[in-house]
Symmetry: C2
Subunit: 246 residues, 2 copies
DNA sequence: ACACGTTCTACCATTGAATGGAAAACGACC
DNA sequence: GGTCGTTTTCCATTCAATGGTAGAACGTGT
């Protein structure tokens, strides 16, 4: 028994502690946290105390552990998507005003689209919950728009390892979707999340011609009018791209 | 030379690395990061690599370090202010619709108000930059609203240590402001950030009668109409508070 | 009020993981 | 192609991290 019987470094453990919170859960009991992180209670306790001394975690009375305000602050001030979101916001508002639909912005992370910003339809209550949500590439228009504009090798690698857990889609179908999206300049997908909605997304391409994001809308099936939506999205996406120097 | 010549723990160093990014800076050179974090280059390199393997940081080609998408995701999904922001959003939208002013939501952290959510005036471009911004208690209406409703001991402790770096405000003046805010149920402050604007904020009180946030607006001096603003804010703040169970 | 179960906190001898200087690779710019 | 400022790898040294154990603080039911 010495430094880590389990053979993991301190950094590993810090990460495991921070990742131990299930989605949407903001507060955890110390013992449960130790359990979830797979750490001995005393080790978890020590780590949590250290982290909370720096404000990355918040160790309340009675062993209640939360993420620290300081961590939230730090991440929101220096977020890797900060420039993207700032550049995109005005254009997303334009789309929202003109089309009055749910607008969202996603980036590619692994084989998933990660939603980094979102505006709701006017009138409907703003739903922040879905921000920081993920969708597999092959069942989101944003994911398809992003992947269809990635370098050949990455697409090949993606298709190589592709497997649909639900078993409803084959790699060939996805290949077809990607080819179509690449050729058309936009991706569309009907009723995957909600059977009554369409998703349409276009790539956002920065000054260095890299596809850094996807701008999309989700519209009720009844209001689907590609001719109106796609040009608006493409125009906005170009506007965003122009602002992105890197 | 062994574990930390400088006498700090691994956790200390991890925190220093994450905090090394200056406000608004999303990307840092490895050597500069090492410098800012006060770490030997090889140690910084090792830490950054370990953290980036877990996605908390992102170590790009050429030693470019950013915060990781995964960290952003994690914090946004499990943020300690998640429930607060979700509860507040609809009411903040109402305020925005009815008053058409900049609306903001802040919590108390140390002796500062930390802004956790914000909606801009309709028409003006959404300014996300100020989210995660801080203002000292004594020069923000939100800060005064928050502090004026804290327990006696905390207020005493605050006034005890109070010192205005700018030297323009004395502890007695702040005491007066706090008393006034406590009695009136709202705090107002003219032209501190911008000389032509007023800030007005009211406390948000949860089901357990704790003051957990401040809801405020920033209005141009010309449009200042307390009679209209305060009741609207108070109504919204009560609505938010009612949703907060903890 | 008491006893029990649960969860948090503190302690401390043991030891292997963390450390950082030095040198090798890299890349950019004259 | 040589020089300088990086990043990256290597590896012997050693002290910080570890976690079992014990006790304190809750909370809960009887």
């Amino acid at each position: 028994m010495a430094n880590s019987a389990s053979g993991d470094s301190v950094v590993d453990r810090v990460v495991r502690v921070m990742e131990a919170f299930p989605e949407g859960v903001t507060s955890l009991q110390l013992s449960e946290l130790a359990d979830r992180a797979g750490l001995p209670l005393s080790s978890a306790h020590r780590l949590v105390r250290q982290l909370s001394e720096h404000g990355l975690l918040d160790l309340g009375a009675g062993g209640t552990v939360r993420l620290g305000l300081r961590l939230w602050e730090l991440v929101n001030r220096n977020s890797p998507t900060l420039a993207l979101r700032q550049a995109a916001m005005p254009f997303m508002e334009d789309i929202q005003q003109v089309l009055n639909q749910n607008v969202n912005l996603a980036v590619l992370d692994g084989w998933e689209a990660l939603f980094v910003e979102r505006l709701s339809r006017r009138g409907s209550v703003a739903n922040r919950a879905r921000i920081a949500g993920r969708m597999p590439v092959h069942i989101s228009s944003a994911g398809l728009a992003l992947m269809s504009h990635q370098p050949r090798e990455l697409q090949a690698e993606y298709l190589e390892q592709f497997a649909d857990p639900a078993g409803k889609v084959s790699a060939d179908v996805v290949r077809h979707f990607l080819a179509e999206a690449a050729q058309q300049g936009y991706a569309q997908l009907a009723g995957v999340v909600d059977p009554d909605t369409w998703g349409i997304a276009v790539p956002v391409i920065d000054a260095k011609r890299r596809t850094v994001a996807a701008l999309g809308v989700v519209v009720p099936l009844a209001e689907m009018r590609l001719q109106a939506l796609v040009p608006a999205l493409q125009t906005a996406a170009r506007g965003i791209g122009r602002q992105l120097g890197d």
